[in-house]
């Protein structure tokens, strides 16, 4: 049994493979990668806008229809500093956001509650699934005229439209998330002593949360679509109204300017949503990075 005493030569690491060197190299490579990504992102944006501007100025495309980045920027500046022909830009933005946020909140709360309730109750799910399918098959925008007829030109009709846009997406994910909850985890909670309500609240809903969050990401965009489509069809204020008026007066720059505003709002909302999600999902594993 003396074999265990065989001397194993202790190797020295090749240069460049010590812990500090590997970490430094990885940090450097990561920074380099980040810079390259940012560089190309900016380069593509500038290239695209530059080409658009050039094409407009050289009359390769008709600026009357396609506008130019400079005229769009000019229109945005004018709206911000002097207001639009329909009053201050901020008020229109505020109205659209109010509609979208109200529709988003009510739609997602209703979607989560009904999704979880039907997910927990097989019988109810089987009974209602056909109706949900039928209603879901209606393209949401065709409801816009109906809502405006019933609820008028104000806030209500747009919130209703944003609500139906959001509700089904969130409902489907909440329902699916509940159905996918791990069986062993549920059995474990029940044996540990959880009542039905405790089970729903502290096991089913948290485990469905990543599904629900995935749907919330998309559905804020849908809420904005709902609000703007509603405004197209009939309204007194809002970004949709600005686009409609710009269309009526063949003001291409105005239409694109409104689109830029909506884009910025949607991106900010997406960013906030990711922040909230990261905070709530801190229990999830972080991927490890491999060294070469």
């Amino acid at each position: 049994m003396a074999d265990a005493a065989i001397n194993i030569p202790t190797g020295t690491f090749r240069p460049g493979t010590s812990d500090a060197e590997i970490e430094a190299a990885a940090a450097k490579a990561a920074a380099h990668r980040r810079h390259t990504v940012t560089f190309w992102q900016l380069a593509i944006l500038i290239g695209f806008l530059g080409l658009w501007e050039l094409a407009g100025r050289m009359a390769w495309i008709d600026p009357f229809f396609y506008a130019m980045p400079s005229t769009i920027a000019g229109r945005l500046y004018e709206w911000i500093t002097e207001g639009t022909s329909e009053g201050p830009l901020w008020y229109h933005l505020y109205v659209t956001m109010e509609e979208a946020v109200l529709g988003f909140v009510t739609g997602s709360v209703a979607g989560i509650i009904i999704g979880v309730a039907l997910g927990r109750n097989r019988m109810a799910a089987d009974i209602f699934s056909i109706y949900i399918k039928v209603i879901n098959s209606i393209p949401r925008v065709v409801l816009a005229p109906i809502f405006i007829m019933i609820l008028g030109l104000g806030l209500g009709s747009k919130v209703a439209l944003a609500f139906v846009m959001v509700f089904f997406v969130v409902f489907h994910n909440a329902f699916q998330g509940v159905r996918e909850a791990d069986r062993a985890m549920i059995a474990n909670a029940r044996i540990l002593g959880a009542s039905d309500w405790q089970l729903t609240r502290s096991v089913i809903v948290p485990s469905a949360m990543s599904w629900i969050f995935a749907s919330l990401h998309v559905s804020f965009g849908f809420a904005i679509i709902g609000a703007i489509v509603g405004e197209f069809v009939g309204s007194r204020y809002g970004i949709g109204l600005l686009i409609n008026i710009a269309k009526g007066s063949f003001d291409a720059a105005g239409m694109y300017a409104a689109i830029v505003i909506v884009m910025v709002v949607a991106l900010v909302a997406e960013y906030l949503m990711t922040l909230v999600e990261d905070r709530l999902a801190k229990w999830r594993p972080q991927p490890l990075h491999e060294t070469q």
Partner: protein, 269 residues
Amino acid sequence: MAADKTAPAIELINVSRRFLSPTGKSLTALRDFTMTVERGEFVAVVGPTGCGKSTTLNLVTGLASPSAGEVRVMGAPVKGIDPRIGFVFQTDALFPWRTVIENVMAGPLFRGKPKAQAQASARDWLARVGLARFEQHYPHQLSGGMRKRVALAQTFINGPEILLMDEPFSALDVQTRVLMHEELLRLWSDAKASVVFVTHDLEEAIALADKVYVLTAGPATVKSVYTIDLPRPRVVADIRYEQSFIDYSRTIWADLKEEVETSYARAAA
């Protein structure tokens, strides 16, 4: 109440259990199954994979009910989930969005204990399984063996009189498994619970149990029962080299082998 005090912890009397397969066919998992677990006794159940071992445990928890026969816990028929029962699962059944201590606190909180009391008790149990430093970690940050320890603490904190274990250590590597065996025997000798330990690993069964039930290939029924007369406390890491252990192992394996072969031949056919 006198009968209640002396009755065996678990009795399965001529139990059969049938269930529907996903294609709508009726299958028999257990047939005329009889088993008695005395108070404080450690019983292991071995059998070929997929023979219906886990079904026996589900019947005792009340998560499933027998198609024929009777299941009694502490002398009374099973009605719903009994609070005196603890269950350790084969798969990871921890709640991944809760920290280690929140996972261990889950049982007492579900059962309506005040938060401070649950927390103190959870701290105590985490210390007993050697995880005091990992209170604020999330399950995904722990190794498989540590997660199993959390699962043990989560179960033992409720003070179960009956402990059901469904291949709890089958996903662990061999070395960790031996450590977990020691851990389990230590916790069990303090808690004085009655244990049913389902496994397909015969050596694990002999090393841990007072009695080993060998089941037939499905539909499962009891083929034979062996009393393991090895002295306690046992050192699981060393016991497997003792002659008496090897003798038990050889005898029971001869018995189990037939069933494993039957089950294998059936799967291949």
